[in-house]
């Protein structure tokens, strides 16, 4: 018998011939936050929760994203940065990009480690947990893009901000490679005290438009 057949047959033996029917799962927890996506109170909550992870949020009007991304890079890299330090997702809106910046292509992923900062969009943001989700789409970029540069700038638009985890997951495609980001990389491995900044980006800046 193959290992596959044997493990499956063990499962069947363990459960017995008269196995009980699966019990019904009652989903009486909060399925929605009650406020629509982009509600001003949700934006406030997102800012509070993201900042609680010691990330920085810059708010702006939808037309000011490009300037605010540059301001975010000033904060993250210091004002002396040049366009060549920054790599952006290939599908990032043209007017959000710093002029002359590097655009990710099909180079080997490890080469992205040479860049100081990256800029991406997000697929959805969950206010209650301060979570941004990147879904590998052209605007969010491949996973290595938001991982290797030490400073990550994510642009969130108001309509992407939902209240709760169930609402966030419902908007995502589980077949895409997803990365849920809640603050900069961190560890609690030394005396269970949180230290921000280990292997992932040590600086996370969020541009919230709207």
């Amino acid at each position: 018998m193959s290992a596959r057949e044997e493990v499956l047959s063990r499962v069947r033996q363990a459960l017995g011939a008269d196995r009980t029917a699966p019990e019904e799962v009652v989903r009486d927890y909060r399925l929605t936050d009650g406020r629509p996506a982009g509600d001003p109170a949700l934006l406030e909550l997102l800012v509070e929760r993201v900042e609680d992870y010691r990330a920085t949020v810059l708010r702006c009007a939808p037309a000011e994203v490009g300037a605010t991304v540059r301001a975010a890079l000033d904060q993250g890299l210091g004002s002396g940065w040049s366009a060549g330090d920054v790599v952006v997702a290939p599908g990032l809106a043209e007017d959000w990009r710093p002029a002359g910046c590097d655009v990710d292509d099909d180079r080997p992923a490890v080469q992205l480690a040479d860049r100081a900062a990256s800029v991406t969009a997000v697929a959805v943001a969950v206010a209650e947990t301060g979570t941004l989700v990147l879904d590998g789409s052209p605007a969010c970029g491949r996973r290595a893009l938001s991982l290797l540069p030490d400073c990550l700038v994510c642009v969130v638009t108001a309509d992407q901000v939902v209240g709760s985890v169930p609402e966030g997951l419902a908007r995502l495609d589980p077949l895409r490679p997803l990365t849920m980001v809640s603050g900069p990389s961190a560890t609690s491995d030394i005396e269970l005290q949180r230290v921000e900044g280990v292997h992932g980006p040590r600086t996370l800046l969020v541009v919230l438009a709207g």
């Binding site: 069947r12 099909d106 997803l178």
Partner: protein, 493 residues
């Protein structure tokens, strides 16, 4: 392991438990013997006391924040119960979906088979270095030792796992394997073992984390093979999930050409939607955060993004034997958050190493004996005061105290000769069912007052077999008069 141990591990209802001689589910000592040493280690107790009280406070704060925690917890319990009732169907569906998206699924009956599969897969890539994401399943099966025996270099990349690996130590906590070490001890390990580390390294946690970042950065960038575990696997979509904090997981899941994920068969969940429950329960119970910094999900292979070769190894290693136990199968619902460790008065004092298994604390005290067969971990079901704190905090409501009692009964029934305790209780039963004998015995017990010499408890250095009871329990000095005597004195008969 001694030479007298029979070669085959026992079975439960004919289902094989985790084999002996491989992996880390069995200790060299019984729990009380191992704990005695740990209890004398003042530094260890201070480290554990500090760390567990910190995390308890954080967890309580973020759990209280959710108005529907009780409903989420009940949904988590029900989801796990429903999943186990159709585990075979979900595993087959998971295999179909992962395969359809370019992954390769392997099945492993036990630790030896899983280690062989992973070793073979790594060797096939032609590389000699493996980077690893922290994973309980690979700790359980002793994968690092197997890979090293095959001449491969294994690098743990989680900070706490790195501390354990560099210190040639053993993990002592599910979430924070180096919880038993404080910052000064970690600084000493890094200064001694990391080549080229800054000699002025202090014990500031931030500096220590940066030293780990520098040490591992090059390894991540050149790694060609990574091995991970999985927190969840969604059957309907073939989506694997790893929940982490540092970004070492993302490095391993993203940069190498080949990814090998080893996952216990109980980690499958039926639908994507089920993660809306578990991704709320796990981070809050585990690190006490609203959400962990990074959660990665992937389904098979994505062209142009991440590893282009993906292998999923589905591991039994005693899990089907646990599933066969109608009372104990609930232990398979565990999502490895470690909340039960952090609230356990026994864990807080004895530490994780005393349990002898990679699964310490209350959940380990039920899971380890069931995976190995109770007689191979016979002391663990007794390593609890049955206070129930573990049940209260468990995010999927595993009734650990009831399973502990169930396993104690199983151990007692497995004894061929009556133990001293069994003889004593049989005697006590006889005495308690005869009023005259009972009053006589109570009066006789007053002799204990002579031994106590005015102290509130009897000395714990009593001769055997009584010492078997008193070495881990205080026996109060018998009172001057019994309750009945006091009643008669005060109220008349």
């Amino acid at each position: 392991m001694t030479a007298t141990v029979p070669p085959k591990a026992p079975t439960f209802l004919g289902l094989p438990t985790a084999p002996r001689g491989v992996g880390h589910l069995r200790g060299d000592q019984s729990f009380p013997d191992a704990a005695r040493g740990a209890l004398r280690d003042g530094q260890l107790r201070a480290n554990l006391g500090h760390a567990t009280s910190t995390i308890r406070g954080k967890r309580a704060k973020v759990v209280d924040e959710l108005p529907d925690w009780a409903q989420l917890r009940e949904a988590g319990r029900a989801l796990k119960t429903a999943t186990m009732a159709r585990l075979d169907d979900h595993l087959e569906e998971l295999e179909r979906q992962v395969t359809a998206r370019g992954g390769v699924v392997h099945w492993a009956r036990d630790a030896n088979e899983a280690n062989e599969i992973v070793t073979r897969l790594v060797q096939a890539t032609g590389t000699s270095e493996v980077v690893k994401v922290k994973s309980m399943a690979t700790q359980e099966i002793g994968l690092n030792e197997a890979l090293e025996a095959a001449g491969l270099d294994v690098f743990e990349t989680d900070l706490a796992e790195l501390i354990v690996q560099l210190g040639e130590d053993k993990p002592s906590h599910i979430l924070v394997p180096a919880i038993h070490k404080n910052r000064a001890e970690i600084r000493e390990i890094f200064a001694r073992t990391i080549p080229g580390v800054d000699p002025d390294l202090t014990d500031d946690p931030r500096q220590l984390a940066m030293a780990a970042r520098t040490h591992l950065r090059e390894r991540f960038l050149r790694a060609r093979v990574a091995v991970s575990g999985a927190n969840f696997a969604v059957a309907e979509t073939g989506t694997l999930t790893v929940v982490e904090s540092e970004g070492n997981g993302r490095m391993c899941l993203t940069l190498p050409e080949t990814l090998i994920t080893v996952m216990g068969i109980e980690k499958v969940v039926p639908t994507w939607r089920d993660l809306e429950v578990f991704l709320q329960l796990l981070p809050r119970s585990s690190t006490g955060e609203r959400m962990n910094p990074y959660t990665s999900t992937w389904a098979g292979v994505t062209p142009g993004d991440g590893p282009q070769e993906f292998h999923l190894v589905l591991l039994d290693n005693g899990r089907t034997a646990v599933l066969a136990d109608e009372v104990g199968r609930e232990a398979l619902h565990c999502i490895r958050c470690s909340a039960c460790l952090n609230v356990c008065p026994v864990y807080e004092r004895a530490g994780g190493h005393s349990y002898g298994s990679v699964y310490p604390g209350p959940i380990g005290a039920v899971l380890s004996p069931m995976l190995t067969g109770v007689e191979d971990n016979a002391s663990l079901p007794f390593a609890s005061s049955l206070c129930g704190a573990c049940y209260d905090v468990c995010p999927v409501a595993i009734d650990i105290p009831s399973i502990l009692v169930h396993l104690r009964a199983e151990h007692v029934e497995a004894q061929e000769r009556p133990t001293a305790e069994a003889v004593a209780f049989r005697g006590l039963a006889k005495v308690m069912s005869h009023p005259r004998l009972w009053h006589l015995a109570q009066r006789a017990s007053r002799l204990g007052r002579l031994i106590a010499r005015g102290r509130p408890t009897l000395p714990n250095a009593l001769p055997p077999p009584v010492s078997g009871w008193t070495r881990s329990r205080d026996l109060p000095t018998p009172p001057k008069e019994t309750f009945v005597e006091s009643w008669v004195r005060e109220h008349g008969s």
